[in-house]
Symmetry: C2
């Protein structure tokens, strides 16, 4: 039975690559809860980065085996688990052949911009891991299940900060009297963000040349930690990064407020980006899966719900913290990144709304609960990990710390 | 002594990566002839591809060691030689430290679109070899000679065939009442062409973040074989590819005409591209080196001199062949590629002219001499290598032949 997209009417089996991570784990739970059959593919390399850099999640997190076991105990639902590196095509092939997915959600990349700027070896690792991993996923789909819909996590950072409105993936340009709709120009600002740009170009080509179907979710900065499913049991708890390498803006501010550390505003703080609640990440991914791209279509959605500047976020956290009796101050620290600190920013994000996304906007109550969450775990905070210490323009030429293996 | 670009007044030492190849060898000779101090860096992997695929240059070519030796015998000029893979950073570092280049010309990539479409392993090899190799060059420049000007070979194929005029690297877009000048959108159509798009984005970032200076030469399809310097002695002879994997359009047609093989027009033959004479390749590279980019500047030149459709080239070769008494016919063969066969094409190419390029336009006399050249060597032609046999939409999932090592 096919729907108007020529697709089997409801995709049933979803492979979640990177399903042990911050976005991937709650998404796996959500999809399982919605009665998709879920298989997690993950090398667990993210846990290795923590060991190597001496970092840890704010929240204690269970092993992936225990997470899946606990979910089964609570709900009776099972999840397949394939532990391995998607850069290893033999491993990936076996996972595809045995699971036979209808859709693949691909979260499985090195996703920290600062990590990719530590040194040459990690810059190379990031681009190799992400670009070759994604190439392997494309070849596996072509080889083993050409009908399979790829839902790939990209980032709003691919666009940079152009002085014109940001569209969803494509822009119609009239030039010297002629018109065409072309891929939106990309201006990424770290080796990590660049790896996503490379992925997007590679995926676009395979949709055109091979007729693959793909959705690129250019995701904004995610905040929050709890979803309906992770809240069911402490063994299902999601990871929460607050350090200078993997922590993202709003999550970091909440932890900083909870432990009495000044909020680290990089430079002037006018940097504006799209943000979304982790509960909307899982919702968006499900919407993309339930409404697959057509054969040969490379669809791009900007996946965020609201724009904020860093100064605006710092102000919101300060106010919410004071309400809870915390003394919060924002502090401008020298910007470790090379980026515009005051700029125009207006990015479109209607396509997921059109598919039915009901956004969880950033509210006082969410900020309260995030802050309370941070307060609950504040004894676990390692203060030495809060300040940023990876500088873009140094991009230490020399190997720093232990090198991850390709 | 600095000139207006803040650059040492005349760059003296040029490292030519890929200096054993079709473009790299004549460029090395030309630069040496113009009294630059030249070092060739090459892994010779191109010669390995020939062995693995059972291919050979139309022209007999000497070893790189004999080429350099012969050049020294004829002119008294020396060239340094570093044999190694630029993906090996230890090797590349030693080459940079011992030679201390003022400019690096980077030809050293896997450059065949069909090769990159043979199978997964060669697609991955191509993107790894090209992207990681170029990342290493960027890190080496940053580490060992931040003043060094990178001249990187890109391709006109990065742009694809948009329905608007192609500008040189950047386009000014007015959108919803605002204006910005942004990287020209890229639509590459093979894993090889995509690797060049990835390189361009990576280089642009390092110019911005680290202040490197770089020129991206988006080269058209090169034809011809002799330059002033290669013609001096048979041991200096350049390679000439006519097979379906490495041969490029006009060169292939001349060999086909010489051996009485029908000219292989892919599909409708309306595919239009920019072309240039190999003598203009060496001229353009020297112009880029002699007029370096500024600190932090990422400069893009479209390096070609004339546009032709495949049908137009087939017509020119047919006419020239008949003049020499050859019986030439053009034959449409099923297009192995996924590409538009009839399309708008108008690409700008004024920046190198502004720097002083004096083009060698495609003329009857050049076609005569190319055809005579092909006739001279026609006994060396392997007829079984002429037809294209790598199909884009098959992109054989299975390893085909011997796999190159990463
Ligand atoms: N967190 C955010 O704010 C955010 C924002 C925009 C986009 N994204 C994107 O969403 C995706 C998920 O992000 P996240 O925050 O959950 O990251 P994460 O690091 O928490 O999770 C990524 C997971 O992928 C796995 N992985 C990495 N490389 C792998 C490989 N080669 N083989 C198998 N598994 C591999 C890791 O072990 C990890 O579990 C990433 O692609 C990221 O770029 C995240
Ligand atoms: N020939 C054309 O028509 C054409 C057109 C547009 C652009 N270009 C570009 O110009 C450059 C040169 O093209 P060409 O036709 O001379 O190709 P070629 O294959 O003849 O030469 C490339 C050389 O680079 C070397 N090389 C490849 N990978 C290497 C590595 N990792 N380390 C060290 N050496 C390595 C090869 O051994 C070879 O000698 C390429 O970057 C190509 O993409 C060529």
């Amino acid at each position: 039975s096919q729907n108007s997209n020529g697709y089997i009417s409801k995709p049933k089996k979803v492979m979640v690559i990177g399903g042990d991570g911050y976005c991937g784990w709650p998404t796996s739970l959500h999809l399982s809860n919605k009665n998709y059959e879920v298989a997690i593919v993950d090398s667990l390399v993210r846990r290795l980065f923590d060991h190597q850099l001496g970092l840890d999640s704010l929240t204690p997190i269970s092993s992936i085996q225990n997470r899946i076991h606990q979910w089964h105990s609570l709900t009776g639902k099972t999840m397949q688990l394939y532990i391995g590196n998607i850069c290893d095509f033999e491993f990936l092939s076996e996972a595809f052949k045995s699971f036979e997915p209808d859709a693949v959600v691909h979260f499985g990349e090195q996703r920290s911009a600062p990590y990719s700027m530590i040194d040459r070896s990690r810059a190379v690792f990031t681009q190799h891991n992400n670009v070759i991993g994604t190439l392997n996923v494309l070849f596996a789909i072509k080889e083993f299940c050409e009908e399979c819909h790829l839902v790939k996590l990209g980032t709003m950072g691919e666009y940079g900060t152009p002085n014109i409105d940001i569209e969803e993936g494509y822009i119609t340009i009239t030039h010297n009297g002629r018109t065409d709709t072309l891929p939106y120009p990309k201006q990424a600002s770290s080796f990590y963000h660049l790896s996503k740009v490379h992925d997007s170009h590679n995926i676009a080509f395979t949709c055109k040349a091979w007729g693959l179907r793909a959705t690129d979710l250019n995701q904004g900065v995610v905040y929050g930690v709890r979803t309906e499913e992770t809240a069911l049991h402490e063994e299902l708890c999601n990871r929460f990064d607050y350090d200078g390498v993997f922590g993202t803006a709003l999550n970091r501010f909440c932890v900083q407020a909870a432990v009495g550390h000044p909020l680290t505003v990089y430079g002037k703080g006018g940097q504006t980006r799209g943000y979304l609640d982790i509960r909307d990440t899982v919702q968006c991914v499900e919407l993309a899966i339930a409404n697959p791209a057509k054969h040969g279509e490379f669809r791009i959605f900007n996946q965020f719900t609201e724009q904020f500047s860093i100064n605006k976020l710092a102000g919101l956290v300060t106010k919410a913290g004071e309400k809870l009796g915390l003394k919060v101050e924002a502090l401008s620290v020298p910007n470790p990144r090379v980026e515009a600190e005051e700029h125009y920013y207006n990015a479109k994000h209607t396509k997921l709304i059109d598919l039915g996304l009901k956004p969880h906007l950033l509210s006082d109550s969410l900020l309260d609960s995030l802050l309370n969450f941070a307060i609950q775990f504040r004894d676990r905070v390692d203060h030495s990990q809060i300040m940023p210490n990876i500088l873009w323009d140094v991009a230490s030429r020399k190997p720093s710390g232990i090198e991850p293996r390709l």
